[in-house]
Symmetry: none
């Protein structure tokens, strides 16, 4: 009835044990991604998502208690995919290689679906969603890598946050500009990352 719900949990309503529901949920989330990509925030509404997913609006609400839950699910999916790739950084031998891998993962992720990544970065910042989307693991991962790459750094958490911001800023801007040269972008991001570390680190 109203458009302003008060307070809802963002978790999916049911843990889909059956593979059928699982598939439905996945298709809805992917539809959300596509709508966001093609129509932007303007056209991102539940009816459009349901239509694109080929399910009824009722079904959508069967699996997601509200629009925000859908957004959160999408963010979680993308973050998860990114995290999965990024974690591989820990398998690298050197700290430098690990950090380089991290940068590469970020650039890859961004240039794959630039619009989507950018829009989700924005959505993530919405106060209503903050905290719901656990970026904690990501931060920890980056911190760990920073510790290995720059062991002398006095504030690795701060550095991790800064590096995250730097990389996000650069890749989002690249996406906005429509850059397609992955190699070049990665080189520049590395320059920023290692430049920052060399200057802010004690050693």
């Amino acid at each position: 009835m109203s458009q302003r719900p008060s307070h809802k949990p963002f978790r999916p309503r049911k843990t889909p044990a059956q593979s059928r529901s699982e598939a439905t949920v996945a298709s809805i989330v992917e539809a959300a991604a596509q709508v966001l990509e093609t129509e932007g925030f303007e056209g991102f509404n539940t009816n459009a998502v349901a239509r694109r997913a080929g399910v009824s609006i009722g079904s959508l609400y069967q699996y997601f208690p509200g629009k925000d839950a859908l957004t959160v699910a999408l963010i979680r999916r993308e973050t998860g995919r990114f995290y999965e790739d990024a974690s591989l950084a820990l398998t690298r031998r050197s700290g430098k290689a690990a950090l380089e891998y991290l940068v590469g993962a970020a650039v890859r992720q961004q240039l794959q679906r630039p619009m989507l990544a950018r829009l989700l970065d924005i959505a993530e910042g919405r106060p209503a969603l903050r905290g719901e989307v656990g970026g904690v693991e990501m931060e920890e991962l980056v911190t760990t890598v920073v510790r290995r790459a720059a062991p002398k750094h006095e504030r690795p958490e701060v550095a991790a946050g800064d590096l995250f911001a730097i990389v996000r800023g650069m890749v989002d801007a690249a996406g906005e500009r429509g850059e397609r040269d992955l190699e070049d972008l990665e080189r520049r991001v590395r320059a920023a990352v290692f430049g920052y570390l060399s200057r802010s680190s004690a050693a």
Copy 2:
């Protein structure tokens, strides 16, 4: 009978000749800033802005042909203020000092009204508004400063874009986290900026 919006310019509808309306326009723009700050995009609607400005909705539409025009005006106001400060960088003796001044200006601007700055950065990216908000001067300014600070750099425009993205990314994140330590933030942003330049520049 029907609506016929078609193509709306973003320019104000009438240049306020009388001082009365000048004040009205200014109060509307400031109200827009406040609403955006306190309510976010969710609560940013023309009625709320008019109410906060203490004028009728009709008055708002006398000066702004639409909601977007209001947003644009706000962006322009903030960009203008920032640019005014940032231009002073050109008065610095050395290229390094100029770049440092630029960073300082960005940090100051950001930490003054963090939410506002962040939200406007987002709004600026909206396809409908791109190009309406001339960020060209800003880019040129940064490019000029980069040329002076790193004369050997092969692609000063690219570097300018990257620096812009780095600084924006860092200060927005800081604003989001609620950082208040201007000094510390500025130090870190400097590290990023000069670190990037030293690594990406030829010399």
Copy 3:
């Protein structure tokens, strides 16, 4: 955020598959007719129509993409009804009888809901709606009948247009004056129609 109407089709949004919605659509169109009749163009707004139809404004917009589409639907309904009756003219033996039947149909249609007929005649002329309401069949029908009633006429299409205008002018004026005497009106319209033909036709 912004509105983006651009080019709206006048066709109903969804062809009602279920009988429930079929009834809803019909009730909305009839409500539109009643509002137009009782309140005139001044009071003809979507909210009033929805209220009179006993449905929510949202439902109205599920079936009609806009106010104009509703108007068009109403025009089509009335035109269709009229056309259905008028087509029977073709079953008459003589051309004269056919033309007389046509006149009778027009008079009947008009005096049944005089206000409605008159207002729709006006609405039909709105540039935005021209062409959307296919009056082509009507014109063709009249032309056919004219050809049979006055085979020697050099410009049957022109005559058809004129006769249409004459009849419409007379019945609308009668409706405006509140005439109720069907017989008398029909007699006069016949006089005009056959008078025109006898004078403009070659023979």
Copy 4:
């Protein structure tokens, strides 16, 4: 404040004794005509009229108590001009010539500013305006001419009304179609008029 005033006189607020006001009033009425012609009913609003007339909206309300008064003034102007021309019919020798003159006047009037004439015919029909625009003289004039052209007619008033309706219907339709051939149109209208009379008149 509100858009729905209750009951206002339609007479101009002041009889402009001074020629300055007279000129202002005239310019406003002509502006109204132009706006109606170029923008249609959709764009016919007081602000637009004032702008086109080159006067302030305040001045417009100085001379016309409301929008309807302006419409009425415009209708009166056009009716007056038409009536002035049409009255010359009475100077004709024969009744037939008088009626022919009448038809000619109507056609001329229509084809001079077709949109305007058509729109005013519609506006004239608005219940709120009926009676305010004295079409009585016109009716009397036509009746007089009918009496002379068809002395044996039993109901000259009815015939006058019908002829009026016929002519209006035909010329409006012609205007709508964009007909420009004055001669041809006049010939056809004559056919309708005299055809009607010959069939409805006793003799």
